[in-house]
């Protein structure tokens, strides 16, 4: 009895934390209107501009920054998790809408989006099309001026952003259009610049407004076959905003035609290369006060990330314990069913974590909920497996002695089997917790916050310090989890079992 009470007490803080935090999350997501942005600087700046412009129009809008790639934002918009986000016409024609002619006008797009419940502003004023860039010196040496020239140099190493690698208007089409012989590898866009500067790769994809073109002395290759479509920046928004927040829609439409390529490049540079806050840069552009949306001082910021992270881990782990321990017991009892359960949870574990996070979006939207769901699924296997192993590893003579005493199965399970398997079960929970702390950093990609937030922003801004701000606490938290669970394990393991382990 004593250590069941102890186990209960050990779980209480988790449960309490889970409750307070889920309340906080629900509260946060109740904010009426939200604008989202993709995880690159320009999108975040445009998201901030939308937020601040809305505020000037008297609408408080939440900005869910750097949520991920196009698919995540599009789904979030469809799902209503966000109400607007900055997009590019080329992405709409080539990726999101089917059967639309390339370089279709804004009216064609507007007509196509309307049945989906989505509105589109007029172009903001700059064309951020794809381009291919090389180190200027290298291009000079090899006499490469246009993309056609690349075909003469099959040994050049190409690295493209993962999105560019896969989209129809990206690398596959480009390779075919220009008959390029080489293969390319996928790489994070922000890292690609550094790889290019360091000489690890020879050519990468760029955006026309990237701040780094001048900074890294790059040559933008001429698109001599006019392969790349126009990528005019626009805002997409849910048409129901016309009722819910008409002034926000007005603010977005007011921004049309107000940002040219030079201004955008300057803003990108200010954030990415000069280290200014996106909020400050956006406010300066609009000529308004940045307000208090800046990320704040270090310690409060760290505390917020920590709470968010602990909530992700705590809630998902608590749920996993509640489900996985009974599943493990079931698996140990019924051999056939057990193999099925172990197999299924094993398969779950093989789903790449990023993919699992994205799969959860249609079910749970974006934010903490899908991240918790994904982490929950990841936590199942170690706990189920260890519960199963702990129970099936009990000496048969002990199980038989319990049966021979005349104890009913339920009492045998509670008084004999689970206590004997407790060490193994706790070890499984510990593994799940430590893995969870690491995996939860990916939650930031779908708007769940936590330590992944500064890591993601740090990668985007090429700011090692910011990356460390998330990576170091995440590592420390993993170590702390390990320590805490070892203490719990020590406290809950009956003394008789420790004696046996010694003998």
């Amino acid at each position: 009895m004593r250590f069941w009470l102890a186990l209960l007490f050990a779980c209480l803080p988790l449960a309490a934390l889970a409750q307070s935090e889920s309340a906080a999350i629900v509260h946060a997501s109740n904010t009426q209107v939200a604008v989202g942005s993709k995880n690159f600087t320009e999108s975040v700046v445009l998201g901030e501009i939308a937020r601040l412009a809305a505020r000037e129009n008297g609408v408080e809008v939440q900005h869910r920054q750097a949520l991920g790639g196009t698919r995540i934002l599009w789904r979030a918009l469809e799902h209503g998790d966000i109400d607007a986000y900055p997009e590019y016409t080329g992405t709409l024609t080539h990726e999101l809408l089917h059967g639309v002619p390339p370089n279709a006008g804004i009216d064609v797009l507007r007509a196509r989006l309307k049945p989906l419940g989505i509105g589109i502003t007029d172009p903001l004023g700059f064309n951020n099309t794809y381009a291919i860039g090389m180190r200027a010196k290298e291009a000079e040496k090899l006499h490469i001026r246009s993309i056609s020239d690349l075909a003469q140099h099959p040994d050049l190493k190409l690295a493209f952003s993962n999105e560019f690698m896969n989209r129809a208007d990206g690398w596959p089409g480009l390779k075919a259009a220009y008959h390029l012989p080489m293969t390319a590898r996928g790489m994070d866009h922000d890292l690609a610049y550094r790889a290019l500067a360091a000489g690890a790769v020879d050519a990468i994809d760029l955006y026309g407004t990237d701040a780094e073109i001048a900074y890294y002395h790059l040559r933008v290759l001429k698109d001599d076959k006019h392969y790349f479509p126009r990528y005019d920046a626009v805002y997409l928004y849910r048409l129901d905003l016309d009722q819910r927040a008409p002034r926000f829609v007005a603010a977005l439409n007011n921004l049309a035609g107000s940002i040219d390529a030079g201004q955008m490049r300057a803003m990108n540079k200010a954030v990415k290369l000069d280290g200014k806050d996106a909020s400050v840069v956006a406010a300066a552009f609009l000529g308004v006060d940045a307000g208090n949306n800046t990320s704040g001082d270090f310690w409060p910021r760290l505390a917020r990330y920590t709470l968010e992270h602990l909530a992700l881990v705590g809630i998902s782990l608590s749920l996993a314990i509640l489900i996985a321990v009974p599943l493990g017991i079931l698996a140990a009892r019924r051999r056939r069913l057990g193999q099925l359960v172990l197999g299924l949870t094993g398969i779950l574990q093989t789903v790449p974590s990023l993919a699992l996070f994205v799969f959860m979006i249609p079910l749970f939207g974006i934010g903490a909920e899908p991240a918790i769901a994904a982490l929950f699924l990841y936590s199942l296997l170690p706990i189920v497996r260890n519960t199963h192993a702990g129970l099936t590893g009990i000496e048969p003579s002990l199980l038989e002695s319990a049966a021979a005493l005349g104890l009913p199965p339920r009492v045998r399970l509670l008084r004999v089997e689970l206590p004997l398997a407790l060490r193994s079960i706790l070890a499984g929970i510990k593994i799940a917790a430590v893995i969870n702390v690491g995996t939860a950093t990916l939650g930031a990609l779908i708007g769940a916050g936590g330590y992944g937030q500064p890591i993601l922003t740090g990668i985007r801004l090429d700011d090692i310090g910011l990356i460390m701000e998330g990576a170091v606490p995440a590592a420390l938290l993993a170590l702390a989890m390990q320590g805490v669970f070892e203490i719990i394990e020590r406290a809950l393991t009956p003394r008789g079992l420790r004696l046996r382990a010694k003998a």
Partner: protein, 255 residues
């Protein structure tokens, strides 16, 4: 004769066959165990004697034949109740390592609603009977010697004062000195309590020491069932003769 009517006996087997993976561990065995006396199942390892014992409390289940408990066929739904009227002790004691001695003794009584002081009182009584120092009640099994562990196992089996004791090589894991001491004590305890005792051993001397009702088994069959004198005077076959010959120093002037 030692063949009481099945209805008078505490336990009886009627033509019981029990197989494991197609191998017959017990082959059409019939035997009855008289109330209030000690019977010993004897045979070499693999003879089916442990299987026979385990069948009596439903730890194994026959493929054919009947197991009778107090004259009634054993039913699965009655197992917990039957098992509480039987104390069962195995070679290594089967003590739960996560519980203290008292915890082991208290497990079933507490489930049945005894209060703590009642459990403690009974535990002290049995500690005196089994010559276990009371101070050991708060120890864990890992802190006890092999002999002490078997005393505790016997105490646990006796907590509810069941009419029957089943002992599967209870002294098998002990060194000879401890073993001889405990043999004396056990025989005295059985005599004092007047229980039906069914014991399994592979040692003929031990079997003869505890009882004159012997059941000799080989390869799942009961070869001879009777008193030691019957075994010596009219051995059922060469196997019995050889088995007796292997144990020369038997009481009653064997061989």
């Amino acid at each position: 004769m030692h063949a009481p009517k099945d209805s008078d006996s505490a336990f009886a087997l009627q033509g019981v066959t029990c197989t494991f993976d197609g191998v017959r561990a017990l082959d059409a065995a019939s035997v009855a165990f008289t109330r209030g006396r000690t019977s010993v199942l004897i045979g070499s390892s693999g003879s089916g004697k442990s299987t026979l014992l385990r069948l009596l409390i439903g730890l194994e289940w026959p493929v054919s034949g009947n197991v009778l408990c107090d004259g009634e066929p054993l039913r699965r739904d009655a197992l917990p109740e039957v098992r509480r009227r039987v104390g069962y002790v195995i070679q290594e004691g089967g003590l739960f390592p996560h519980l203290t001695v008292l915890g082991n003794l208290a497990l079933l009584p507490r489930h049945l609603g005894w209060n703590a002081s009642h459990v403690l009182e009974r535990a002290r009584e049995l500690a005196a009977l089994a010559h276990l120092h009371e101070g050991l009640l708060s120890r864990f099994p890992a802190e006890l010697s092999g002999g002490q562990r078997q005393r505790v196992a016997l105490m646990r089996a006796l907590m509810l004062d069941p009419p029957t004791l089943l002992l599967d090589e209870p002294l098998g894991a002990l060194d000879p000195l401890v073993r001889h001491g405990l043999q004396d004590e056990l025989r005295e305890i059985f005599a004092r309590l007047g229980k039906t005792v069914i014991m399994v051993t592979h040692d003929m001397a031990e079997a003869a020491f505890f009882s004159d009702h012997l059941i000799l088994m080989r390869r799942g069959r009961i070869i001879q069932d009777g008193r030691l004198e019957d075994f010596q005077r009219t051995p059922a076959d060469d196997f019995v003769r050889e088995f007796l010959a292997a144990h020369r120093n038997l009481p009653g002037g064997g061989a």
